[in-house]
Symmetry: C2
Subunit: 310 residues, 2 copies
């Protein structure tokens, strides 16, 4: 991990010199939404100009920030909790309005949208999407948070690539149990022989396991890096699960563990508090979990995060 | 249902007159792969020329057919079982080689692909992808099979649209239990209040619930048709689940039930036997389940289709 942390620390020092006014605390300046966003962008990628979709989804860049909430997704409950905390800026990793681009033209007469918009406006809440910049950071901010949660930075095969790990040998079933417990996943989906041995593991968080526009990508990663197993966020049934299912039927040593989008990515936002807080001085920064969206109907009943709710 | 069945029956009669040689049985002719494929296409869409991706994935159109297997996906196990039955033609709804287009250039050195290819060739198996034509049939062949399995053709709101149903009022939890049992799903994912009342239901099978290229589509269907709940195949977490999650938090009556791709579409292939058999005379037609690809790790252990396997 040292190789990864060092450039970030150096970057910090440089930023502190070049943009001394950014961290409102030191100067006593009040910070606007724009100030906070700029501080986050500079922390993530420095002054590189990059093509991103990250943008202000609600509110104004000129609003003075009273408190910040960071979250995987600005759900209605997250917005309510943020307002209760006196925060008026939510930094969200994923969309607020149900499509990748947060377009709202199709929602103009939709009651869910209209009620959520009213809620946002009634609290004067600004919402900024922090997705692309976070993944472009070195290291990727989502993986960096996941490492803090599961301690796997020590197993990274190369610091050039946050996907590939070599871990002490275990089984697919035990690896699935590890992730279920560590990341509090209600039900984990597995493809492969539960008893298969696993030491080389890939992790493709969030939508990355869909292939980022190339359906074959996750399988190529598996093949090129000689992985026994891949831990996935979202999945298309006809790609990696089908591939690993065939591999298993052929007696080849392949498995996947599917944890879902929110459960693989929320950790980047949770551990964002530690690096964002010093950038914004005495403005309170709070992580709020968006929580796994699914309930699970098993033969034993309906569970949420492993708890019986029905 | 009568309105839907009648045109199909009429189509049948017409086909029988125009293509009397298609149904090998009556004439005693042997059938090639091409003959069987042509019979399926004509049954599905008549003589309409349509842009489709359906094509021969393995084998030759000129091979004489000894037996036919129909399946959701030509997995390694399905191919082995087909060979045991003496079949040499598999009609598969979904890809054989792990991407939507069944491209194999990226797989040339992949051991899973090479082993599967060897298996296919060793049995002289032909595999034909029957996807687009099946969904283009009137009614859509996948939905028609699902109706046979769950008896919901009686609840169709309009025969113009196989997605929208009005059912006797139930709850989201009971509806999820109904599908879990009827379609033998290991674990069903739910978003919404389990106690919410449900009477207007959408069903978007397979990848349809991903939006068919428009992420907003499933939510627009829900809104435009005033649906309480949508039963889904595959899902992107940031679209319909996020929308329904927010709706639930706002006290609006919305829910989804996620069953997976294979579990929602396999029924079209199962019930294909009944209409394909008369088209191919004494050639045996057998449905083989591709089976749900996932095992489920719950707090109670690892389950497959609700059965403890580990």
């Amino acid at each position: 991990m040292k190789k990864l942390v060092l450039p970030v620390l150096l970057g910090w020092l440089v930023l502190g010199m070049v943009f001394p006014g950014t961290a409102g605390a030191e100067t006593g300046h009040r910070m606007t939404v724009r100030d906070v966003v700029n501080a986050i962008i500079r922390y993530s990628v420095g002054d590189r100009e990059l093509p991103v979709n990250d943008r202000l989804i609600a509110g104004s860049y000129d609003t003075e920030v009273t408190g910040i909430v960071v979250t995987f997704m600005a759900t209605v409950d997250v917005i309510r909790k943020a307002a209760e905390l006196g925060a008026n800026l939510i930094i969200t990793h994923e969309p607020t309005f149900y499509t990748g681009g947060d377009a709202t033209d199709w929602l103009e007469n939709d009651p869910v949208y209209l009620e959520k918009k009213k809620l946002i406006e009634s609290h004067g809440m600004a919402i900024w999407r922090y997705h692309d910049y976070m993944h472009m950071a070195q290291p990727d901010g989502i993986y960096a948070g996941l490492w803090k949660e599961i301690g796997w930075d020590q197993y990274l095969v190369s610091t050039d690539n946050p996907w590939i790990y070599e871990i002490p040998q275990t089984t697919l079933a035990d690896l699935a149990r590890f992730f279920k417990e560590k990341l509090s996943v209600g039900v984990v989906r597995i493809v492969g022989n539960p008893d298969m041995k696993v030491s080389r593991v890939g992790i493709l968080v969030g939508g990355g396991s869909l292939g980022l526009g190339r359906e074959e990508m996750p399988m190529q990663v598996m093949q090129q890096h000689n992985l026994d197993a891949v831990v996935c966020g979202e999945i298309y049934e006809w790609t990696l699960p089908a591939y690993v299912n065939d591999a298993t039927m052929l007696g080849l040593n392949r498995g996947i563990i599917v944890l879902g989008h929110e459960r693989t990515e929320e950790w980047g936002m949770k551990h964002m508090v530690a690096w964002l807080q010093p950038l914004v001085g005495d403005i309170s920064v709070t992580f709020i979990s968006a929580e796994e969206p699914f309930l699970y109907l098993t033969d034993g009943g309906i569970l949420k995060g492993g708890q019986d709710v029905h």
